[in-house]
């Protein structure tokens, strides 16, 4: 086939004279363009939330938890050091850390405020020089005191930033931690054990549940609180590569004859929610694709319709059906291709600058709202907050641009725009020149 269809398609898109695109091409191009850029922004935000949540959870939670479960709850593990050593020697290259731990519900009292929390006590390295604990590398950022790396031994603990806000705590304040004494499972009735701890700092995982509910301390301190000697409640395992989670679990089960639970199993709801989000994302992409197809079909059909006479003439002077088809497939495809490409680029740009863009929008909205309330309605003006921090619990909008997803969306849109153009193109190639010539006579 010759290049003639390419030449004609190009002219149809360009339109007469020196405009960049004909009106028709401009409209459908704009449709695809806007659609794609919005899609990229939406996907980036969705992805960002997912990545942020996953990171905060995967960083803070143990990847595999070993317990000695009984019918009334987890049992004390006396020989945990033995097992820890066994696991370490057997699985060494895959492990980041194996540690004895106590993770238990507890109650925190501050003056007359009570809060139910989770106490998490893990083995902490000691600073060889000072009488302090070193925070492990995986531990989330300490917000206050900023970049704290160690904290004093003895009755000290760390709490989440949100809890500090909610209970009005300051670094150095004391809180009381109340747990059942002696046993984790309240098998013999509850005898509370109670102890005061000074707050060494506030951490922030980025996950609201943790930042508002978790109290962290050294294992030794928790063992004293529970009065259980050198036993622990759980053994925590952290992996270098989370993709090996299932495999490592299998191997750990050979060593540990009791309950072995992975992060995925512990956080089933959470992972379901993530999955649901993925599904919604897929639906959005699907809807977008449908819209894009419809857009291209309509645009190409318009192009065919407005060039009926051209088609009649071209066929009368001897252009083949296939070439006629090629003209319109190429036109539709080009609109889709350019729209998608530019849309993706714009989408990336918007995603990256989303916060500042939203900031500007927020300011504009607030300006108008204030003007309206002060000058017209006379009511009380409340500033509008587009991304309320206390709802979304992020310092900054989490944006994650996934090249793989963009690639998929892009290729899909491009392939589909060619397919979508096919239908009107076939219609065009089937037009009878004699009818066209008559109808315009």
């Amino acid at each position: 086939m010759s290049l003639l269809p390419v030449f004609i398609a190009w002219r149809y898109l360009r339109g007469k004279g020196s405009t960049i695109l004909s009106l028709n091409a401009r409209l459908s191009f704009t449709g695809i363009f806007v659609g794609t850029s919005l899609l990229v922004v939406v996907l980036s935000i969705f992805n960002g939330f997912q990545v942020q949540l996953k990171n905060s959870i995967f960083r803070f939670d143990p990847h595999i938890t070993l317990t000695q479960e009984t019918t009334s709850g987890p049992e004390k593990i006396f020989s945990w050091r033995e097992y820890k050593a066994k696991i370490e020697t057997r699985l060494e290259p895959k492990l980041l850390l194996v540690e004895g731990a106590i993770s238990s519900p507890a109650i925190v009292r501050r003056k007359n405020l009570l809060e139910h929390v989770y106490l998490r006590a893990v083995e902490l390295q000691r600073d060889p020089v000072r009488n302090q604990y070193l925070l492990p590398a995986y531990f989330p950022k300490i917000e206050e005191p900023a970049n704290l790396k160690t904290f004093p031994r003895g009755s000290y603990c760390l709490v989440g930033r949100e809890m500090a806000w909610q209970l009005g705590l300051y670094v150095g304040d004391e809180i009381e931690v109340i747990v059942p004494r002696g046993e984790f499972a309240a098998r013999v009735g509850l005898r509370p054990s109670l102890k005061s701890y000074r707050i060494a700092g506030f951490f922030k995982t980025g996950h609201y549940q943790y930042d508002s509910r978790v109290v962290v301390m050294a294992l030794e301190e928790a063992q004293k609180l529970f009065a259980i000697g050198d036993s622990v409640q759980q053994i925590f395992i952290r992996l270098k590569d989370l993709n090996e989670l299932r495999q490592v679990k299998g191997e750990v089960m050979k060593i540990w004859p009791f309950s072995v639970r992975t992060l995925e199993e512990e956080q089933r709801n959470f992972f379901h929610a993530l999955q649901l989000e993925k599904t919604i994302m897929t639906v959005i992409v699907f809807l977008f694709v449908i819209a894009a197809i419809v857009g291209i079909v309509v645009a190409t059909y318009n192009l065919v319709h407005s060039h009926r006479r051209d088609i009649g003439i071209l066929k009368a002077i001897g252009m083949s059906n296939l070439s006629i088809m090629a003209i319109f497939v190429l036109s539709g495809f080009t609109m889709g291709y350019l729209g998608t490409l530019l849309g993706i680029m714009t989408g990336i740009f918007l995603s990256v600058h989303l916060e500042s863009i939203l900031g500007v929008v927020e300011k504009a909205l607030n300006f108008l709202a204030r003007l309206y309330t002060e000058k017209i309605s006379g009511g009380i003006y409340f500033p509008i907050n587009l991304i309320p921090r206390d709802v979304y619990y992020f310092d900054s909008l989490p944006i994650h641009i996934d090249p793989g997803v963009l690639h998929q969306v892009g290729s899909l849109a491009i392939v589909l725009s060619a397919l979508a153009a096919l239908l009107p193109a076939i219609v065009a190639s089937r037009l009878e020149p004699v009818k066209i010539i008559r109808s315009t006579e």
Binding site: D310, I313, A316, I317, G318, S320, P433
Partner: protein, 226 residues
Amino acid sequence: MLLVVKNLSKTYREGETELPVIKSLSFSMAKGDFVSIRGASGAGKSTFLNLIGALDSFDEGDIIIDGISLKNYAHKEELTLFRRDKIGFVFQNHYLMAEFTVLENVMFPLLLQKVPRRQARERAELMLERVGLKDRRNHYPSQISGGESQRAAVARALVHKPVLVLADEPTGNLDATNRKKFIELLQNLQLQENLSILVVTHEEDLARCAKRQYLMVDGKLELLSG
């Protein structure tokens, strides 16, 4: 003979009703003939022209052009190629493609024949010179007058040297002066190139400049003069 039409019949069917338009029509044309056909509106002149140009299909009889019967072309695509190579069309509405310059419009028949672009351009420019539009070649159809458009359409119909030129009311949209100019042009070209032209028209003056003049009545052609 360049064109032989034997017992040609064409009937339009719309559901139950049948409208016989061409009724056992016979006609022939030699190379270099200039033939005009007149007739009442609805007599079937356009239909006849479209049949010869292989734009429409007939029911009975035969059309033989350049020694080959149109019935030999089994597929529509073959008829398309036949039109591309043998026929030059001029329509009443001198339809040029709006997104292309006059020159490009005239180049199309050559480009369809896969003539190299540069050569096509040269030949099209030459043709435009013959119809007096050389200096308008880079204008778009919307920028030229109706008379100029029709001359451009003639250039497009002749640029690839078709064996037969079919013109359906080529002066239908032109005023008296433009019509006169157009007729002169057509006559000159016909003489210079020894063109074979079959023209359908209502206009006396155009019809009269043909060597042979026919009248279409009741689905047949009657010779008026020549």
